[in-house]
């Protein structure tokens, strides 16, 4: 939160109001109520409703509703071909939807395209850097197009090169960059225009684990700076790591939305695994804990649980009561892969590998 905002009323909300669409006039009339109105109306960075898009017979988006809060990371999760890139293209004014409405940064994407474009930055699935220009020249090109003249432009370029650790390669052609460096340059180019909302379309697809982590750190820093991030990914871990809210997209439809934890809770599959020293102990435990599934070969008992402290303690207490000794136990929370399977009836990876 920005420092120096007056304490008392819902200041963070009000701050965002001013930043996003400036509904200050209302604030003069009734401060408190305006704060509430604003939070309802404008603290959303992106609001989409009923988005539909078809290419010929193929329905790509089939009624998408989204509400992305300002200053958060929203992740659209789905396998290849789910419609992630089409969604990004629609939200970023690159493609027009067949029906539905979208407001980005408080502006309608159809009637106020220019204002929308001024507020957003897009880093696509395929790094859109100019390969025949050096890293520095790529950034300078962006600065020129943003009309950052002379030393102001040069300063922005220098800062971004430093921030993204590209100073060493600043003079080399982008075609010689590694995948990770290219993505960093791509994102740096997007940041030249100081966008408030950044769309990252599969920013880590094809990157090695280390570069992926670097990218994650960068995304976290951007959010800390107050930016809103709309991220698409097919990596469940990535959404789990970065996103405040996740929407699961499958064949053009949102099949679930919530915080990563909420999504996990929607899904059965959380359980405690107890391992025992011998078969009699396992048999005893099976009798004591209702609903459990024993695996005699590995001497493991699987007990459904929400993974919370209470249910774990209850199970342990009960085993203790009947003097059953537990060798070891582990708590399993469902990961987003389980979520996908439960929500769509098919695994996310099956689709990817086809």
């Amino acid at each position: 939160m920005p420092a120096g905002t007056p304490a008392g009323t819902a200041t963070p909300v009000l701050t965002w109001c001013n930043a996003v669409s400036g509904c200050v006039s209302g604030a003069e009339q009734a401060r408190d109520r305006t704060a509430v109105d604003c939070s309802r109306m404008t603290s959303s960075a992106i609001v989409a409703s009923g988005l539909k898009k078809a290419y010929g017979d193929k329905i790509v988006l089939d009624g998408i509703d989204l509400d992305v809060r300002a200053g958060t990371v929203f992740s659209l999760l789905g396998p290849n071909g789910a419609g992630k890139t089409t969604t990004v293209n629609v939200l970023t004014t690159l493609v027009s939807a067949d029906s539905g409405t979208v407001r980005v940064a408080g502006h309608d994407i159809r009637s106020e395209t220019k204002q929308v474009r001024a507020a957003i930055g897009v880093t696509g699935q395929f790094a859109s850097v100019d390969e025949l220009l050096s890293g520095e020249e790529n950034l300078q090109l962006m600065a020129d197009l943003h009309r950052l003249r002379g030393s102001a432009g040069k300063q922005v370029v220098r800062q971004l090169l430093r921030r993204f650790d590209l100073e060493q390669s600043a003079g080399k052609l982008a075609s010689t960059y590694s995948g990770g460096m290219r993505r960093k340059l791509d994102l740096a180019m997007t940041l030249v225009g100081k966008p408030r909302i950044i769309f990252l379309d599969e920013p880590t697809t094809g990157l090695d684990p280390r570069s992926r982590r670097t990218m994650w750190t960068i995304v976290r820093e951007l959010v800390a700076d107050g930016m809103t991030i709309f991220l698409t990914t097919q990596y469940l871990e990535e959404a789990d790591q970065l996103a405040d809210r996740v929407a699961v997209l499958d064949q053009g439809r949102l099949v679930a939305e919530g915080t990563p934890d909420q999504l996990k809770r929607q899904v059965p599959g959380g359980h405690i695994r107890f391992r025992f020293a011998d078969a009699p102990q396992l048999a005893a435990a099976t009798r004591v804990l209702s609903g459990s599934t024993p695996d005699p070969d590995s001497l493991v008992l699987r007990v459904p649980s929400d993974g919370g402290v209470k249910s774990v303690r209850a199970a342990l207490d009960r085993l203790d009561e009947y003097s059953v000794d537990v060798e070891e136990f582990t708590v399993h929370m469902p990961d987003l892969d389980d979520v996908f399977l439960a929500l769509t009836g098919h695994s996310s990876t099956a689709e990817v590998s086809k």
Partner: protein
């Protein structure tokens, strides 16, 4: 708008200078062709007069066509490699992106034409054009290069991939061979002769040749201008349509 065009133009210039293949195709290859035709084949063709004087206008036309594949590839890469999306989100106009390509192509062509003309003079080229005739033939060549640049931009936009984009300009490179560039059309076999007489490059070459010889041919010049304007308009409209569809 114009500012964006200038920025795009600067970008395209950097591309041209950094891509040795482009420069080779646009400048060195025509020089090699020129040397080959004049020194190797020239004596075998009887065109009445020095062959270098006959061949130079045709060689200029070939030079005009040789650099085009690079433009088609470069336009196509902008579309297929995603940078166009970045420009579009930044509100860079369609006009700026395409104009950047056309202007950089024309400038590169002018450089190549100047080099070829210089080489021609070194080889004994002795035109009898007056100063106004020089201006007129420069005008015809400039108009032609603008026309084929727009057509090439459209071809680049229409192609599916960068590789096929490079190929789409091959007909433009081949056309001068089936014109009066190397030998007079009336010396060709039936069929080819008619084609050579009626294809656009022949009146353009004949117009330029007329000015160089100091004997301007009004008919050819009018035909050359008409063809160029026609090609430019078709190329421009086609490019606009394809750009809207793709980007």
């Amino acid at each position: 708008m114009t500012n964006d065009s200038a920025i795009m133009l600067r970008r395209n210039f950097k591309h041209t200078v950094r891509n040795p293949v482009t420069l080779f195709n646009a400048i060195l290859l025509p020089v090699v062709m020129m040397l080959m035709f004049v020194y190797v084949f020239g004596d075998a063709f009887s065109v009445g007069g020095a062959y270098v004087d006959y061949a130079t206008p045709g060689m200029l036309m070939m030079t005009l066509a040789y650099g085009l594949s690079a433009t088609a590839v470069s336009v196509n890469s902008d579309m297929t490699k995603g940078i166009i999306n970045r420009f579009k989100v930044m509100d860079v106009s369609r006009g700026a992106v395409l104009t950047g390509h056309v202007v950089s192509t024309v400038v590169r062509t002018i450089v190549a034409l100047t080099v070829i003309t210089g080489v021609a003079f070194l080889m004994g080229f002795s035109p009898s054009a007056s100063f106004p005739q020089w201006l007129a033939l420069i005008g015809v060549l400039l108009l032609t290069s603008i026309a084929v640049a727009w057509l090439t931009v459209a071809l680049g936009l229409a192609a599916k991939s960068a590789e096929s984009a490079g190929f789409t300009t091959v007909p433009l490179i081949m056309l001068p061979f089936f014109s009066s560039a190397i030998v007079p059309a009336d010396k060709m076999g039936p069929g080819v002769r008619e084609f050579a007489e009626y294809q656009p490059f022949t009146p353009i070459i004949e117009s330029v040749r007329g000015f160089f010889n100091g004997t301007p041919s009004t008919g050819h010049t009018i035909a050359a201008i008409a063809w160029s304007v026609g090609i430019a308009v078709v190329g421009y409209l086609w490019a606009r349509k394809k750009f809207t569809k793709r980007a």
